[in-house]
């Protein structure tokens, strides 16, 4: 089982990895991407089982990555972990096929609630 974490902040990628562990999800290989373009390319090459992506990133935003994946027939389960959680963004994420949107700051409980259906 492989999880791709896309965020332009290395600090946040580490926090997401740590929070996955604190939420009780362990035994997964974690692959990281530092911008949207790298995320898209790595998802295509590494074929992760789940993507946790920031929204606001250089090169491509998270929603652009998701739309590009779907346009290319890649149906990987995809969720957002982002500092913004407006109704408009949630609607856009949902419309593009995202499974969930976790807002920063988040807790291990928030991860458990959002991810249990996919990793539990």
């Amino acid at each position: 089982m492989k999880i791709l974490i896309a965020d332009d902040s290395r600090v946040m990628r580490q926090i997401v990895t740590r929070t996955l562990r604190q939420a009780g999800f362990s035994g997964y290989d974690v692959v990281e991407a530092a911008d949207g373009r790298q995320a898209f390319d790595t998802i295509v090459s590494e074929k992760p089982n789940l993507v946790l992506s920031d929204w606001n990133m250089p090169e491509m935003t998270g929603i652009e990555v998701l739309k590009a994946l779907r346009a290319n027939g890649v149906q990987v389960p995809f969720g957002f972990v982002t500092s913004e959680g407006s109704e408009e963004m949630r609607a856009a994420a949902n419309e593009a096929g995202a499974l969930f949107l976790i807002t920063k700051p988040f807790t291990a409980d928030a991860f458990r609630d959002a991810l249990d259906a996919y990793l539990g």
Binding site: S9, V11, Q14, N56, P58, T82, E84, S86, E88, K104
Partner: protein, 158 residues
């Protein structure tokens, strides 16, 4: 005519408390303690900007020691292991998280920029008014969060 969209000092405190509880004060032993408004420390300045229905900036300013403490806490490493790159990344992400939450209190649509971090100096923000501010101390070091709105879209009544 003087109606102004935007968050309040209380909103900033709520957002900051959520950030501290989640990442910087997980054990509840070192909260951010609000203090009366004071001149912000200018050692490290991290900001995100917004454009669209609302235009302005969210700025996190703190002492160099507070910035190193924040980086160590966020990364889960010892203080001695914190690099300048860690400080830049950590403070930028703090500004991004706080800015994203402030954005949820502002009129849509707005676009949030990527963070900008300056160490030992402060970026200039011309033609802005301070909408709200949280001054605090964390582990006895200064931390200030400000929301600055572009004065070009603020209608003044005085």
């Amino acid at each position: 005519m003087n109606e102004r969209h935007g968050p309040t000092d209380a909103d900033l405190l709520t957002i900051a408390e959520q950030v501290w509880t989640s990442y910087l004060d997980v054990d509840g032993m070192s909260p951010l303690v609000p203090v009366p408004a004071e001149k912000p420390s200018l050692d490290v300045s991290a900001s995100v900007s917004m454009t669209g229905a609302w235009r302005g900036h969210v700025v996190v300013r703190c002492s160099a020691a507070a910035a190193r403490n924040a980086a160590a806490a966020l990364l889960g490493v010892e203080l001695d292991d914190v690099t300048t790159e860690d400080v830049t990344d950590a403070l930028g992400e703090l500004a991004n998280i706080i800015g994203g939450n402030v954005k949820s209190l502002l009129p849509e649509p707005c676009a949030l920029s990527l963070p900008h971090v300056l160490i030992h100096g402060e970026s200039g923000y011309p033609h802005v008014v301070e909408v709200c501010r949280l001054s605090g101390t964390w582990r006895e070091e200064s931390v200030t969060i400000s929301v600055l709105e572009s004065a070009l879209v603020v209608e003044r009544t005085e």
